[in-house]
């Protein structure tokens, strides 16, 4: 199953994005345990586009494509009218710092890296279009008893 929808680059669109992902999960029969992490990754990527893309072309919309894959879902966010910026190469937050040194910035990308099976970035120079695609499946969900080995790095 596939679905696609466009959203204005604004924080107000987040509620409608969550409606879209929730509807897709219900119609596609995707395991609901994957919905919170998928929503989180979509929100982090979308809000980055709102923050950093609006200056380039405030009227352009972000297209979100969802597709069923074995055991989960693949999601793409496509932003047009923007300069290239490979978010997958952006620096990670240091989550080992004491509270005095902690800053919220970078935490979203840190979470994405821990939640997705894989993610990738493409840029079309002709269309000035950035596309980020990620995949989330149950197969890559760490067993709960092993969480201490995967988190907090």
């Amino acid at each position: 199953m596939n679905a696609s929808r466009r959203f204005g680059r604004s924080f107000e669109a987040i509620a409608r994005i969550f409606e879209f992902t929730s509807e897709f999960f219900a119609r596609a029969g995707t395991d609901p345990r994957l919905l919170p992490p998928v929503d989180l990754v979509v929100e982090e990527l979308f809000t980055n586009m709102v923050k950093y893309g609006a200056a380039a072309d405030p009227d352009a919309e972000v297209r979100i494509d969802m597709a069923s894959v074995p055991g989960g879902v693949e999601v793409s966010l496509t932003d047009s009218g923007v300069e290239p910026f490979d978010v997958t190469q952006a620096p990670d937050a240091d989550t080992s710092l004491p509270i005095e040194g902690r800053r919220p910035g970078g935490l979203g990308l840190h979470l994405i890296r821990r939640l997705v099976d894989s993610w990738g970035y493409e840029y079309s120079k002709e269309r000035r279009e950035s596309r980020i695609t990620f995949r989330k499946t149950l197969a890559a969900e760490p067993a709960r008893e092993n969480k201490s080995a995967t988190g907090g790095a």
Binding site: A15, P36, R102, L111, G151
Partner: protein, 97 residues
């Protein structure tokens, strides 16, 4: 949507989804709390990095005044997010059911 309000025995109750669009509401409320505050998260379904930023800012402010923010009733998804973020090292977290 998000709701945040005072509950029984001084506990602050937060319910719904703390996403980027709801952060101004949560921050405005938490900017007014003082001392050691228990935040009942048993009805909090979802949090993103923007929501984590609200909790971090509040914790910094309260700790500077010898208070703190305690998180109780935290569901499994939120526990994972707090752990991945290192928040389990800077907040007292009590899991929910």
């Amino acid at each position: 949507m998000l709701a945040i309000d005072h509950g029984a025995q001084g506990v602050v109750v937060i319910t719904g989804r703390l996403d980027a669009s709801q952060c101004p509401t949560a921050q405005a409320f938490l900017d007014k709390v003082e001392g050691t505050v228990t935040l009942d998260c048993s009805g909090l379904e979802y949090i993103s990095s923007a929501g984590l930023g609200v909790l971090l800012k509040t914790q910094k402010r309260l700790l500077a005044a010898s208070g703190k923010l305690r998180l109780v009733g935290v569901n499994r998804h939120l526990q994972d997010i707090f752990q991945y973020s290192g928040f389990d090292q800077i907040f007292e977290i009590e899991p929910g059911r």
